[in-house]
């Protein structure tokens, strides 16, 4: 038996983008239904592991054989662990088809991956927004930095981003809280780099969505560095700490967990979406909800998966498929290449407190006159620290003197991993696999994505540049690595419903509206037209706030 309920707006997904959509739309007076496919996680109360000590975990945080058997994808990398296993989606309930290997790490609960994210927060620049047009790759972005800059300002003030003002054109400054400073190892190397590279290769404090100053209802960081367990102080940005409380405070939000949206309902006469169909993940009952505005913020692959299933009576390829671009141009950041080494001369220095960020080296390749055989570039994320006890595993020794030495801090080390831009490529795509269904009977996604020659060429620099940089700064025993990369590992999946200027070549317009259904907005990573090399989440926040502002204005003008 179907019921119908109506709202002013429906937001699908409660992660970084969906939380922002809910906040903005409710604050502008709309009654909003926020749909989340997974369970609720209540701020603080449900952070059940947040204050546990290392010895409270039977396997000290590690992974068991039983966990590996239950999570065949998650086990490929660090997310499989004893501490926040509950926050990663079940590979078994929600399988997908890997035409080529694609590591898909998902958070199916209220807050989504905003609870577990790495919090690095960087603005894109016009080098990014103009890149496709200048290189003749894919299509041009329909927006420029100036379109987004005020929205970056807006979301940074509310989210709380700690960072330093650097005046770098490729990494615009923002509305920062005070930075979390470089430690003495990083500061020493940063100083030497300034001399060696004249500011071109520059170590700056990682810009992070952790508070160094209180915001309403949120305390500054206590330097526990346990963010991925949920923060009892609300000191890092998440849906729960930041956007959800704001939306709830309006009295206009209805949050519905366990609500799997199976399709967007579309009226072919009005050429508008009318609502969504929801499958209750527990009772498996179906309910239709209607609203004049629909925001899809279900995460990159999931929002497109939903579009692929919608309005198939009008377009067999799904809502937004008329351009032939829906599902195409999947991107990620390729990484796991870099270098590390030892810093001498700081044995009399140490740190206190566990800073939840490291340093950043902004992109310098293919900028300001530098030209390489490949397009675009990469940035580095890294850190310096004194080695901990784990160094002892590889060292010769047993007995009392060994034990007491290993309980002391080891030598200073420094290392960094590059995050490289991946080019949009039409061949990298997702599609429905009708041969396989998830726990709820939905046909799953097939993912067919690989890196290409440009990424391969770039990886050499990603590894070798770091060694060159560290050696130039006097770092000893420099060791390079390229640990290999498969798409998805960066957990920065982007594209598949790109923005553009022309409905013939793009899925979304400059305001994230689906060309074929202007009251449907897609503002998560699906909308990205290129990938930049900087972490994307801050840009999703800005795009979402901008699109919500536009949507409400259009609603008032009776254009939706």
């Amino acid at each position: 038996m179907m019921q119908s309920q109506s709202y002013d707006a429906i937001v699908v997904g409660s992660g970084i983008s969906g939380g922002w959509a809910a906040k903005e739309l409710t604050e502008k007076g709309l009654r909003v239904l926020l749909l989340e496919r997974g369970k609720n996680i209540e701020h603080v109360k449900d952070y059940v592991n947040a204050t546990k000590a290392p010895w409270d975990y039977p396997h000290r945080g590690g992974r068991t054989r039983a966990m590996e058997d239950a999570y065949p994808v998650l086990k490929r990398d660090y997310p499989l662990n004893e501490k926040n296993l509950d926050w990663w989606a079940s590979d078994q309930e929600s399988p997908y088809t890997e035409v080529k290997r694609f590591d898909w790490y998902r958070g199916y609960h209220v807050g989504g991956r905003s609870l577990m994210w790495g919090r690095q927060s960087y603005r894109w620049s016009d080098f990014d927004f103009k890149a496709n047009a200048q290189d003749g790759v894919a299509i041009d972005w329909p927006i420029r930095y100036a379109d987004l800059a005020p929205w970056y300002d807006y979301v940074e003030r509310h989210a709380g981003i700690a960072g330093s003002r650097e005046g770098m054109a490729q990494l615009p400054d923002g509305q920062f809280q005070p930075a979390m400073p470089l430690n003495c190892g990083e500061a020493m190397i940063a100083g030497r780099l300034r001399k060696q590279f004249g500011g071109r290769r520059r170590i700056i404090p990682g810009r992070t969505a952790n508070l160094t100053r209180a915001l309403p209802g949120r305390s500054p960081c206590q330097y526990r560095n346990a963010c991925w367990l949920g923060c009892p102080y609300g000191a890092y940005f998440s849906t729960q700490s930041s956007t959800l409380p704001a939306a709830v405070a309006t009295g206009r939000l209805t949050l519905k967990p366990f609500a799997i949206v199976t399709e967007v309902l579309y009226d072919r006469d009005k050429k508008r979406a009318t609502g969504v169909r929801v499958l209750d993940a527990v009772t498996e009952q179906t309910t239709d909800y209607s609203a004049p505005i629909i925001f899809l913020c279900a995460s990159t692959l999931n929002s497109t998966w939903l579009l692929l299933r919608s309005a198939t009576d009008v377009w067999p390829g799904g809502l937004g498929s008329s351009s032939g671009q829906l599902g195409h141009n999947l991107m990620d950041h390729h990484f796991r290449a870099g270098a590390s080494g030892k810093i001498e001369g700081l044995n009399g220095k140490y740190t206190y407190g566990r800073r939840p960020t490291g340093f950043y080296i902004p992109r310098y390749r293919n900028l300001f006159g530098d030209t390489r055989v490949y397009l675009r570039g990469f940035g580095y994320q890294g850190g310096a620290s004194r080695q901990g006890w784990s160094r002892a595993v590889a060292e010769l020794g047993v007995g009392g003197a060994f034990k007491d030495a290993m309980a002391q801090p080891g030598p200073w080390t420094i290392g960094a991993t590059a995050f490289g831009e991946m080019l949009p490529n039409h061949a990298n795509r997702i599609a429905i696999d009708p041969s396989k269904q998830d726990k709820w009977g939905l046909p799953v996604l097939a993912i067919d994505c690989a890196t290409g020659e440009n990424e391969r060429q770039m990886r050499r620099d990603m590894m070798n540049d770091m060694a060159e940089t560290l050696e130039a700064a006097g770092v000893k025993e420099v060791d390079t690595y390229d640990s290999g990369y498969f798409p998805g590992m960066g957990i920065h999946e982007m594209g598949t419903a790109r923005m553009g200027r022309d409905p013939k070549t793009s899925v979304l317009n400059a305001h994230n509206q689906v060309w074929d259904a202007p009251n449907v907005f897609v503002t998560d990573g699906s909308c990205m037209t290129s990938a930049s090399c900087v972490n994307p989440s801050l840009t999703y926040m800005a795009l979402t706030a901008r699109a919500a502002d536009f949507a409400v204005a259009e609603l008032k003008r009776h254009n939706l």
Binding site: K52, A53, P54, W55, Y57, P58, H59, R60, G61, G62, R63, T64, R65, A66, E68, K75, D77, Y78, K83, M180, N183, A187, Q222, Y223, R224, N225, A226, R336, S340, G348, K349, Y350, T351, Y352, G353, R354, R355, G358, A384, S385, R386, Q387, G388, W389, S390, V393, A394, L396, V398, G399, K403, D404, A407, Q408, P409, T413, G415, Y481, S483, G484
Partner: protein, 197 residues
């Protein structure tokens, strides 16, 4: 997935832990090394081999651990129940191959001799085994099995230095540091700050 790939993943994991997280959790994770091999195992056999450490085995492992990390001015590995921790980790996280290597290693160390030996004899024996394991591990190719004593040493360090005694007595532990000081004086001999969970 090849053994090689797994080993690379593990190196990467250790790098990540060292540089970004501050050193916990993945050192003992031989699970990272052996996922492929495990995929081929006979599940029934595996279950049979699990959980078969006796109280006597654990007492023996306690003494091995105590020899690696003995009581000094701070309590040793036995006080931190590292023997039971090793048994749990081997049972729950090790592949069949590594469980076999660990068990075989216990036989090679010879419980009867070890339990009867004086602390100095035990230490001399483990120093010799440690040199063997170091030489073997340094020359080890990715596909080669690990040395049993490497596994024991790894688990002992992990078990002790993430225990309450290890964190709060052998090292220093602040659940909530409250501030970040990027550069403070350090005097040799001062202990390290333990990582959070």
């Amino acid at each position: 997935m090849s053994e090689n790939q797994n080993t690379i993943d593990r190196r990467e994991a250790i790098k990540r832990v060292t540089f970004l997280l501050g050193g916990v959790a993945l050192v003992g994770g031989s699970g990272l090394l052996t996922a492929c091999e495990r995929a081929q195992r006979d599940a029934a056999t595996a279950r049979e081999g699990a959980g078969t450490f006796t109280a006597r085995d654990i007492a023996f492992l306690d003494e091995v651990a105590e020899t690696i990390l003995p009581e000094t001015k701070t309590p040793g590995a036995k006080a931190a129940h590292v023997g039971a921790f090793m048994a749990l980790m081997v049972t729950d996280t090790y592949s069949d191959r590594d469980q076999g290597i660990f068990r075989d290693g216990m036989r090679q160390l010879d419980e009867a001799w070890f339990m009867a030996a004086a602390p100095q004899q035990r230490l001399a024996r483990l120093e010799q085994v440690d040199r063997e394991q170091k030489a073997y591990t340094d020359a080890r190719k990715d596909a080669d099995p690990p040395h049993y004593f490497r596994l024991m040493k790894e688990l002992t360090l992990l078990g002790y230095l993430t225990s309450e005694i290890g964190c709060t007595q052998a090292m220093r532990y602040r659940e909530t540091p409250g501030r970040f000081d990027p550069c403070v004086p350090y005097t040799p001999g001062e202990t390290a700050w333990a990582a959070h969970a």
